[in-house]
Each structure stands twice: as structure tokens, then as C-alpha cells.
Symmetry: C2
Subunit: 252 residues, 2 copies
């Protein structure tokens, strides 16, 4: 990840209240202050709470999910974490949550303690600004997910969620490789989309017929994002180009 290049045109820049320079300037110290040695976790395991309590963590490599376990067995996967994503930011304010972090592949994680984050942010407003930007980005993503969940059909939900993962994963990578393997089980996708396991299966079957995805044993392979877009005509436009109505100021 490091200090990645800006990807803004002059035009884009002027649209922001906060300049991209400021944001990059804010991220760097944070990244620099992280423990250099990533910690590694095995696939399909939980990252123990002690490992990330009171820390802001960054996924360096691998896939994971953030799950909210409900009393009534109604689990919900709140987000899929992929390289470059942070977790543990929320607890900075709200104290320990009920979230679980579960790996889906071999995952390596770097972290920085809250105390450290706070003193950095207190000293350097750009750091606070960058955090603000990061959190804001999440919000915009939620806005879209909310309309998707409120109004979307099952096909749209699955297509758009996959599309989002595809786009996020591909960002900053060689754009040539369209195929992306998403290491989530259909149960995961069900928990993520709020659909029943069985209906996810049927929905994926449709997307498969249309040539959009390839259903594997513990994963889904996205073959042709274009098909996914066509399968979610009303919803896709919200997501495809930009997560949040924004061209993000820098690559992930």
C-alpha cells in the first residue's frame, strides 16, 4: 500500500473541500507508525479479540470478514475486509463491540495502538483529517448498500455486492485481470446479503448461466463483471465507477 500515487485530475481536486495532498499527508504518519512486522493468521479462523483490541489494524494481505453475531442466530456479515482495509477504527470511540473478525484466507495484519493514533492525531490535524476521510468513505458506501438492501432484488444484491468486491480488489492492480476469485462460501454471501443460503445458490446459478461468475467449492470466481452490471441495471450505476459518488483521491 505505502504512499500510493495520486490519481486526481485538476478538475477532481477542485471538487473537494479537502485537498488530496492533505489526505496523503495525513495517512503517511499513521502507516509509518505501525508495527513493521505483520502478524499472520490461518485461513478460516477468528482473529482473537486480544489481537486487535485497542488497535487500528490494516489488512496487509488476504481476505477476512467482519461479522456481527446476533443472539437469534441471525448473523450478519457487516463488511468484507481486503488488503488495504482497516478495522478496529470504530472501537476507537465506542468501546469494545460485538464484532468478530474471521479470516477467509491466510491473512496478515499490521496494527497501531489507539494511544498512538490519538497522539498522532492530536499532534497532526492532517492525521485526524485522514481518519475522517476514511470513515467518511465508509459512510458513503453504506448509503449505497442501504438503497441496495431496501430496494434491490436478490439478483441485484448478489450482483452488486460481488461487483463491489471485484472493483475494490482490482483497484491498484493490473487492470488486465478481470477474473477475481472471491474466497467466500455461499453461506458467507448469504450472511452478507441478508438472503437465504438456498436462494443465494439459485441466484448464483443464474449469474453463472449468464456467464458472469463461476461457482467453485468454497469460493466464487467473477468471470465477467459486465454481466453483473447488466444483471443489476438500476443499482449498478451507483457503484461501478465509484463507491461514494467520488473518485477517491488516491489508489488503495
Amino acid at each position: 500500500m505505502g504512499t500510493s500515487d495520486l490519481s486526481l485530475t485538476q478538475n477532481d481536486k477542485s471538487r473537494f473541500g479537502v485537498t488530496a495532498e492533505r489526505l496523503v499527508a495525513g495517512k503517511a504518519p499513521l502507516v509509518a507508525a505501525m508495527q513493521p512486522e505483520p502478524r499472520v493468521f490461518l485461513p478460516k479462523t477468528q482473529i482473537p479479540r486480544e489481537e486487535w483490541e485497542n488497535k487500528v489494524c490494516e489488512i496487509v494481505s488476504g481476505w477476512a470478514v467482519r461479522r456481527l453475531a446476533h443472539s437469534d442466530g441471525h448473523d450478519q456479515i457487516m463488511s468484507v475486509l481486503l488488503p488495504g482495509d482497516l478495522f478496529g477504527v470504530n472501537e476507537l470511540f465506542s468501546g469494545p463491540s460485538l464484532d468478530l473478525i474471521e479470516t477467509r484466507e491466510m491473512v496478515s495484519v499490521r496494527s497501531i495502538g489507539y494511544a498512538n493514533v490519538l497522539s498522532l492525531a492530536a499532534r497532526d490535524a492532517d492525521v485526524a483529517m485522514w481518519l475522517l476521510y476514511y470513515v467518511h468513505q465508509e459512510i458513503s458506501r453504506y448509503d449505497n448498500r442501504l438503497t441496495l438492501f431496501a430496494r434491490g432484488s436478490a439478483l441485484e444484491k448478489v450482483a452488486v455486492l460481488l461487483l463491489d468486491l471485484h472493483r475494490r480488489f482490482s483497484r491498484g492492480r493490473s487492470p488486465g485481470e478481470k477474473r477475481v476469485r472471491i474466497p467466500l462460501t455461499q453461506q458467507d454471501i448469504a450472511d452478507y446479503s441478508g438472503l437465504s443460503l438456498e436462494y443465494v445458490s439459485r441466484t448464483l446459478a443464474i449469474l453463472n448461466e449468464r456467464g458472469g461468475v463461476n461457482v467453485c467449492y468454497g469460493a466464487v470466481e467473477i468471470v465477467d463483471p459486465g454481466v453483473l452490471v447488466e444483471s443489476a441495471p438500476a443499482m449498478a450505476d451507483l457503484w461501478v465507477d465509484n463507491l461514494d459518488g467520488t473518485k477517491p483521491p488516491f489508489e488503495r
Copy 2:
């Protein structure tokens, strides 16, 4: 709103990475820098974009909604704004959005320009910290709404959304008055919950029979929040006491 009292026990405080003092310290300058003269808008009107472009705005009094108009006529009300709420924070980072702000009652609004916010935040990390806290709060709220939308039945959606409004509106007011008039039409509630207008009507009829609400002409009156809680057994616990698994550090 002003500089309201803290409402934290010592125990609460220690749960936060960020202390409540820091947060209050961050909010004050922002509030102080707002134009003192609120601007007033008539009921059932749009607040013109020019009025809030490049500003962070605070609702001083009255109810409003933030609506995202979709091309296909599928409107979605993203949030209901009530006194103490901010809007325009998102555009600080993402540039102009497609949001509309519509009043539902006579509404008065104070604001502060982005440039001002940014220079305050740059000078005083506590300000940036407060903004971060505010945005974080929104996120936690979204987490709950997302599970609600993903998993909840129509009854749960309506009950919990009303409950949330009730709780937010009652906060910082005399706790005696349980009845709250919510000046939203059933069409609004439909757009907010993602349900059809007709089904909202039927659902409200149920809540009415149970003695939870009173259906008025252009509004819904919450009579007994307890009934709403009982009507949404699985979902209510997420929301009732606290929006975000947190007791907010200060009153609204």
C-alpha cells in the same frame, strides 16, 4: 444544543479511546463559529442547494429528510434530520452529491462554510476529532440499519425506525413526554423503510391496534414505545438503549 452537559459515568469514560472532554472541547469551536442567525425554511419545501453547498449545517429546529432521488423513480430517504443533526458533512470530501434536503415542518438552520471548518480542524485537532466522532456515530447507526434492512420483517422495519426517531427526538428533552408526533407521511415512511406505501399503511394499522401508534393525517404519533419494542423483538435490542453500542458522551 450549545455546550451541553456530559452524561458519562466514570465507567463509561474509561471505555473510550477518546475522552469525552476531548470531544466536547472539539465541538465548541465549531458551534461558536457558526453564523448566529439561523436561516428559516417553510414546511414541505426543498432547501435549495445553494443554501447548503460547501457548508456544514445544523438543524436548529424542525424536521427534515435527506432524500436520494433515483433515476427510476425509486426514491430513498437516507435519513431523517431532527434538531441537533448535521448535514452537508459528507460533501466535505466527496464533492456535490445528489442529495435533496426537504423540510417537513418549519425548519431553521445554522451553518458554517467548509473553508472555516477546515481551518478550524487544521488548527485544532480536537475539532477534527469531534468531526470524526460525529461521523463515526453515523456509521454505527448504519450498521444497525443495515441488519434491520437485511433481515427485518416489515413490522420490524417500521417499528424500529419509529423507535429510533422517538429515542433521538426525546433525548435531551423532558423524559416524561412519551408521545411524540412524527411529521412524516406514510409515503415518507415507505421511502425511508423501503416498503411499499400500501404495506406501510397495513403495518401501521397493526401497530395502531396494538396501541403503539396513532395514525394522523400527515403524521404518525407514537403513543407507547414499549409496544414498538415488543413488536420487534429481535431488532429492538440493537437500538433502544443506544444507537451505536455507546452511550454518547453528551446530550444532543
